[in-house]
Symmetry: C2
DNA sequence: AGATTTATGTGATCATTGATTACTTAATGC
DNA sequence: GCATTAAGTAATCAATGATCACATAAATCT
């Protein structure tokens, strides 16, 4: 029969735990996440996870890093579909940002939570700097226009996620967003460069 | 001498626990909040808090409600200091909103958290509707302009709190915010009414 | 190959926490 | 005064994050 004896070593337990934790967080949110339940789901003893993650915070940080990687993908996809104009590419950043938040609300909240993750973890910084806003912020390069546009897309994301918009966000917002973006684009020097100079070279691969 | 025997009944334990919990949350955040520690701080047995709060979530909801009340005060103060023009009053709403978030980051996050509070609790709704944005939202009255302006102030608040702005938010943002608000004000019908029709009658008392 | 060292998982155990229950004590109403 | 109800206590439970000594397998060295 196919009752193959379970080997003592798992193979890649770190990844398995991370995947299981991500699966849970994406569906249920991080509040109900338990390291023990994760270990159990991967058929491993309760304390095994601690061999690979110093503590819960460390696991949460790894998940947030993955979240930024996924968000970067969403943005890149959106940029790939966008027109060639600078403005179109810039808009694609904001659209990808909000789109990701709507698709992965639990991950999104975790990525911007305080206390639950370690904002200085190298793996986290490495992934988050794939997001144009973080690139500029990391360089101490945030113009007022950057802050306004980032604030706008971030706030729309959070409020939509928190159900304060009755789910009507993605529909009718398009035209007026255009006008708004034009104003913003006229505001700060590094504003329009946001999606260009620092955009991940998704097109060059 | 002044060792007066502690009476069996506390007087107003519910309020005492709530105050202690608020004190902790404002300083440390909700993640490290323990009902037992609260009870201990108020010199009462571990389970006493459950007489007044069904569970932790219920206590968190009460704290969030208090948060909205405080936010409403901040906004009213700001409006009282503002000029008489509609635009000035409207701006005061946004400024008060962000100001409160910067002063009480932990409360602010709790108020907009999901899962940790019960968004339908009557006491919460009663307080949150003192905030103009929630009044409009509750009426199903949110124009696109409302959403954009709310999104902007909310996002700026969250990002500033999460330390993505290097603490440079309140300084140079003033002039450009003006221009932005003008555009927004031209956008949606209920947009300008936001701070007027529904503004708490702080001036009339 | 055989021995040694290192990485990885186990099982037991701890302290803390949210929550419940049976019981005690005081306040309130008749 | 007496019954009823509100409010606090002590004991207890199950779940959790975390740590430790130990077991097991893999990698490395000779």
């Amino acid at each position: 029969m196919n009752k193959q004896k379970k080997p003592y070593h798992h193979g890649d337990l770190r990844q398995a735990i991370l995947d299981e934790a991500l699966r849970h967080v994406r569906k249920e949110g991080i509040d109900s996440l338990s390291l023990r339940a994760c270990s159990k789901a991967v058929q491993v003893s309760p304390g095994a996870a601690f061999r690979h993650f110093k503590d819960k915070r460390s696991l949460a940080t790894a998940m947030a890093a993955k979240g930024f990687a996924l968000m970067a993908e969403t943005i890149e996809d959106r940029q790939a579909q966008a027109g060639p104009s600078e403005m179109a590419k810039f808009r694609a950043v904001g659209e990808g940002y909000v789109l990701f938040a709507l698709r992965e609300p639990n991950l999104f909240r975790l990525m911007f939570s305080k206390g639950q993750i370690d904002p200085n973890a190298p793996e986290l910084r490495e992934q988050s700097k794939k997001i144009p806003m973080f690139t500029a912020s990391g360089k101490g390069n945030l113009s007022t226009g950057d802050m306004l546009s980032w604030g706008l897309v971030h706030g729309l994301s959070e409020l939509a996620i928190a159900d304060h918009f009755d789910g009507t966000l993605p529909e009718d917002i398009d035209g007026k967003l255009d006008a708004l973006i034009k104003v913003m684009a006229a505001m700060g020097p590094s504003f329009r460069a946001l999606s260009l100079e620092n955009s991940p070279d998704a097109a060059s691969g």
